[in-house]
Amino acid sequence: MTKKIVVETTINGEPTEFLCEPRQSLLECLRDVLELTGSKEGCLTGDCGACTVIVDGRAACSCLIMGPEAQGKNIQTVEGLATGSTLHVLQQQYLEHASLQCGICTPGFLMSSKALLDRNPHPTEAEIRYALAGNLCRCTGYDKIVRAVMDAAKSAGAKMGTGATTRGPSPKEMTEQFVKEGK
């Protein structure tokens, strides 16, 4: 086994260091090392988009990035979308439109949607469909997802584009919150 190396990144606005084997993907690092299990493992070949995260402002498949490549990068994951218990407008609209059934693809879809709206706050339906073409969903038939993104763009206004610096709750904070709310 090769030596583990230290990788310094910013994840969801927070400077984050982690230790990984060079052969581990960013997805494995997020899920297994950092316990950020929101990003899902799907095909591992870059076809399904379930592992989509935002790296330096662009959507990318975390299964096709080696952990060490994350050095110095600014990474956003689905865990960073909500602010405390306030959902991001995309999350609200996905719920509103019932844009998910089994939910496995949802974190990836949310991150692709966010990457799009961060760059293009008022996309056309065609632009939304193009931006989401690298994410597969076998439940919804896509239409509800597209409607959700369209409505999120409409209702977002000044809320969009701030996600890079907002920090979602850590797994520990989430647990504390759930305990407090008696869940």
Binding site: P22, R23, G46, V55, A60, M66, E69, Y130, A133, G134
Partner: protein, 295 residues
């Protein structure tokens, strides 16, 4: 995945030293959209992965009318598409890069990686052939320029010797009244591998609609991407009418040597080569006629 050593040099010099030191055990990494999948599947098993994306020279896209284009081998497809010079002066190469996979893939995948992966169906290779790209290859003992149509030697194989690195593509500045185009056929709208891909670049003499220069590249219809030399030559000096385009298309069909596979039969592919060659020549010609207005 097997254990690897990861290196991220900052200069071409450092990269070449690393590649030379580890020879066949090393492989350069750009966007990883082919290499990581191949390593996971055990198809390629490099012990040393040399990430060349952090080398500024390999990321740059620099163009001027006098010297032409230097396209860094590691520049991601999305940066090519977002580059105003690329869209204006090399629209065909730009559309080829923009056809590769989803946005997630385009944020990572590079033209250099596309060519070095050596797939006969690579979208950017026929487009690079059309614009007359030369590959600048650097090794420990010096560097050489390889015409892109000579770069691939078989499926998954290239002229790169152990220790050599494809640093950039050097592409001539388009002459007056010239332009390029790329078309591929896939059975879906997006996100698929070419059944056939055809790239073409044309220079026209607008006074008499004569073709001054032509280059046609074919993809997915042979063991390597193909420079359809006879088809290209057939156009030079000719008036670009339907008859000339038809002759070039027939010549392109003759230059192809496709196989039957899950994406299509050889017979079907030959037919599509003809169709796409006609369409891509018409598209490049239309752009060439317009090109001077945008200068």
């Amino acid at each position: 995945m097997h254990a690897i050593n990861y290196e991220a040099p900052k200069t071409v010099d450092e990269a070449v030293k690393l590649l030379a030191a580890h020879g066949e055990k090393a492989r350069p990494l750009c966007g990883g959209t082919d290499l990581i999948i191949q390593m996971r599947a055990g198809v390629r098993r490099p012990e040393y992965v040399v990430d060349v994306k952090n080398i500024a020279e390999m990321r740059r896209i620099s163009f001027d009318l006098q010297h032409g284009l230097r396209l860094g081998a590691a520049a991601p497809a999305i940066e090519i598409h977002e580059n105003a010079d690329m869209r204006k002066y090399y629209p065909g190469l730009t559309e080829a890069a923009h056809l590769i996979g989803s946005l997630q893939i385009q944020s990572r995948a590079s033209v250099g990686g596309n060519v070095c992966n050596g797939s006969p169906a690579a979208d950017t290779t026929p487009a690079l052939i059309a614009v007359g790209a030369k590959c600048r290859v650097v090794g420990a003992k010096g560097e050489r320029l390889v015409p892109v149509e000579e770069f691939c030697t078989g499926p998954g194989a290239t002229v790169l010797r152990p220790g050599e690195l494809l640093v950039e593509f050097q592409i001539p500045s388009p002459a007056r009244h010239s332009s390029d185009a790329y078309l591929r056929f896939i059975p879906r709208n997006e996100m698929d591998i070419a059944v056939v891909g055809v790239g073409a670049a044309l220079t026209l003499d607008l006074d008499d609609e004569r073709c001054v220069e032509a280059r046609i590249g074919l993809g997915a219809v042979g063991p390597t991407p193909i420079f359809a030399k006879d088809a290209s030559q057939a156009l030079v000096g000719k008036k670009l009418d339907n008859a000339a385009i038809e002759r070039a298309a027939q010549s392109a069909v003759a230059a192809s040597s496709p196989i039957d596979d899950m994406r299509g039969t050889a017979e079907y592919r030959r037919h599509v080569v003809g169709v796409l060659t006609r369409r891509v020549l018409a598209k490049a010609a239309e752009r060439a006629r317009m090109s001077d207005q945008s200068r």
